[in-house]
């Protein structure tokens, strides 16, 4: 009866991956056997009551039949504590959780769009269905891109990797969304294209708009603060165009971009920071 989706997962590997990211490999046979690209796990970084909640991490790959890989960076107390946990240490793991990406069929050309630290689920997707995929990844500058090892890994399994940096230090100078838009505009035949995007909400909203302009189906993986990860607490709500909310952990994190009411997801400007001209 006790589900194998909740158990203590031993750390098998944990090292710096470059550019501020860490690669963590955990022993998790159930997750390794059943995880689908787009799914995530909840990890508790403390045996104590503080920090209280588990943190969600997208699964980046399944390196073996009994292990899963997470790639993360420090964004707060929880992830900071996680960096200090060594090989052999065991963490409480819940997962795999959520609805993953709809699997691209063999005729689909996936356009993977990655922003910020959103690459892990797309990395997993590319390993399973990436041979025809084009990856579009961008950042402010070279140091804000995904780790070089991850980009290399994408290059090995996908058709092409397109990089954009706002300062032009790597790849094309500009935004990821401009790169994507230019690519789509150049394509004559788009009916076999499906976009899979993961990154900050503002980027997902922009990708959703581009997809709509080109009449292409677009799946986005939404990040939202979570408590239970199971669908019980109703904390991770995503506003829907049809009204009401869905849960990022259970009804998502992957949604058809057209379902989402992006107006409620707008990132508010910081009052005391003057907008850069």
């Amino acid at each position: 009866m006790p589900s194998s989706r909740f158990h203590k997962a031993t750390i098998l590997a944990h090292e710096s991956a470059g550019r501020g990211y860490y690669r963590l490999v955990l022993r998790a046979p159930e997750a390794a056997a059943t995880a689908l690209p787009g799914q995530f796990v909840m990890l508790r970084v403390s045996e104590n009551m503080d920090p209280l909640l588990a943190r969600p991490f997208g699964i980046s790959s399944v390196p073996s039949r009994s292990s899963i890989e997470i790639v993360y960076r420090v964004v707060g107390r929880g992830t900071a504590l996680l960096t200090g946990m060594g090989i052999g240490r065991a963490l409480n793991l819940l997962g795999p959780l959520g609805r993953g990406f709809p699997v691209p069929d063999k005729d689909t050309m996936p356009a993977l769009v990655s922003g910020g630290s959103g690459f892990p689920p797309l990395h997993f997707l590319s390993q399973r269905a990436g041979s025809r995929a084009h990856l579009f990844v961008g950042a402010k500058n070279k140091e804000c891109l995904p780790p070089a090892g991850i980009i290399k890994s994408f290059k090995e399994v996908t058709a092409k990797v397109h990089i954009a940096t706002e300062d032009g230090s790597v790849g094309v100078r500009g935004m990821t969304t401009d790169l994507l838009n230019a690519f789509l505009t150049r394509m004559e035949q788009k009916t076999h294209l499906v976009i899979y995007a993961c990154g900050p909400h503002a980027m997902l909203a922009a990708v959703g708009r581009i997809a709509a302009e080109h009449s292409i189906t677009c799946y986005v993986s939404i990040e939202e603060r979570m408590a239970c990860g199971l669908g019980a607490c109703m904390g991770c709500s995503v506003p829907m165009r049809a009204g009401g909310y869905k849960r990022a952990c259970k009804d998502g994190p992957v949604f058809d971009s057209r379902e989402i009411d992006w107006s409620e997801q707008v990132v508010l400007p910081i009052p005391h920071v003057k907008k850069k001209l």
Binding site: A232, M234, L268
Partner: protein, 312 residues
């Protein structure tokens, strides 16, 4: 040679306000949905009971995100009482719970006296419902909940009206955000309630210092988790000494020891809430923890410990 006689299993069953519970561990409203999400992790029939997520007359969408924020040994929530409404609860959620051999207590609320009565009438007579927990104290809604639960007359009038609308065991869930919770316990007793449950969440707030904005879209929210346990234990102790109604104690229970604090303070049963978020098996671990403490102390019947904290 002396024969070793194994200790018999301790008695955990309890009659709470007319509801037969096989053990004193229930799930707190709002932390367990309607049970289905947890079924893969625990056998629901091992629970004393499930107190479901609050139900209203009409469906409620809930608040915009962000709805949650972690705090020291706790969390704030401003979910906004999202629920599918009483009709959908009865047709789609209750049937599943009825199949589990556990008490089903329906938490409910409204924005007006008429709505509370409307929900109570719909629930009264629905098969499979063991009791009703009236939420007079939710701190997240702008109208309704908070207004009733911090006003003695409104509390009495509300609970009296709900009492008339149902013959089911009636439990009043008290708010801690009041000057003297025992006054509200007395109002609930006078209105004809069969039992009390406390505490609901404490009203709290967190601010993002960089953006200079509240962390929750609703600005304020309810604080839960281990951080609130001392307040909850204190209030259970105060209410138990003031009013002879049975109490479901809750507020940051994670272990069997935590549950025992509430029982010694005067609770006849306990509810596990936020702990379910960090461990889907928390309820059963609390239950086995209670059994372990009883075995260690040679206690045969849980009822013998209710209110047994010695003072002075």
């Amino acid at each position: 040679m002396k024969r070793i006689i194994p200790a018999s299993k301790p008695t955990l069953s309890i009659d709470f306000a007319g509801i037969k519970l096989k053990n004193p561990v229930l799930t707190a409203s709002g932390t367990f949905g309607y049970g289905e999400e947890f079924a893969e992790f625990i056998d629901l029939s091992r629970l004393g009971g499930v107190i479901v997520k609050g139900i209203s007359l009409k469906p409620i969408k809930g608040n915009p995100p962000p709805r949650i924020w972690e705090t020291p040994s706790g969390m704030l929530n401003a979910i906004g009482l999202e629920n599918p409404g009483v009709d959908v609860f009865l047709s789609e959620k209750l049937p599943y719970l009825r199949k589990c051999d556990t008490a089903v207590i329906v938490n409910m609320f409204g924005y007006s006296l008429e709505e509370y009565v409307g929900v109570a009438e719909r629930l009264d007579g629905a098969p499979g419902i063991s009791g009703i927990e009236v939420n007079i104290s939710c701190p997240n809604v702008k109208a309704g909940g908070m207004a009733f639960g911090t006003d003695l007359t409104a509390t009495f009038d509300l609970l009296s009206a709900v009492r008339k609308a149902t013959r089911l065991p009636l439990i009043a869930k008290l708010s801690p955000n009041v000057t003297d919770v025992t006054d509200f316990a007395k109002a609930a007793r006078d209105a004809g309630c069969d039992g009390l449950s406390l505490i609901n969440t404490l009203l709290g707030m967190a601010i993002d210092v960089r953006c200079r904005r509240p962390r929750l879209a609703n600005c304020t929210g309810g604080l839960s988790g281990p951080a609130i346990r001392p307040v909850a234990v204190r209030m259970v102790w105060q209410v138990a000494r003031a009013v002879p109604l049975p109490i479901i104690g809750m507020g940051g229970i994670v272990t069997g020891e935590d549950a025992m604090e509430f029982i010694l303070a005067g609770a006849s049963a306990v509810a596990v809430g936020t702990a379910n978020f960090i461990n889907p098996r928390a309820t059963l671990e609390v239950l086995s923890g209670i059994e372990r403490v009883m075995a260690e102390q040679g206690v045969g019947d849980i009822k013998s410990l209710i209110g047994k904290v010695s003072v002075g």
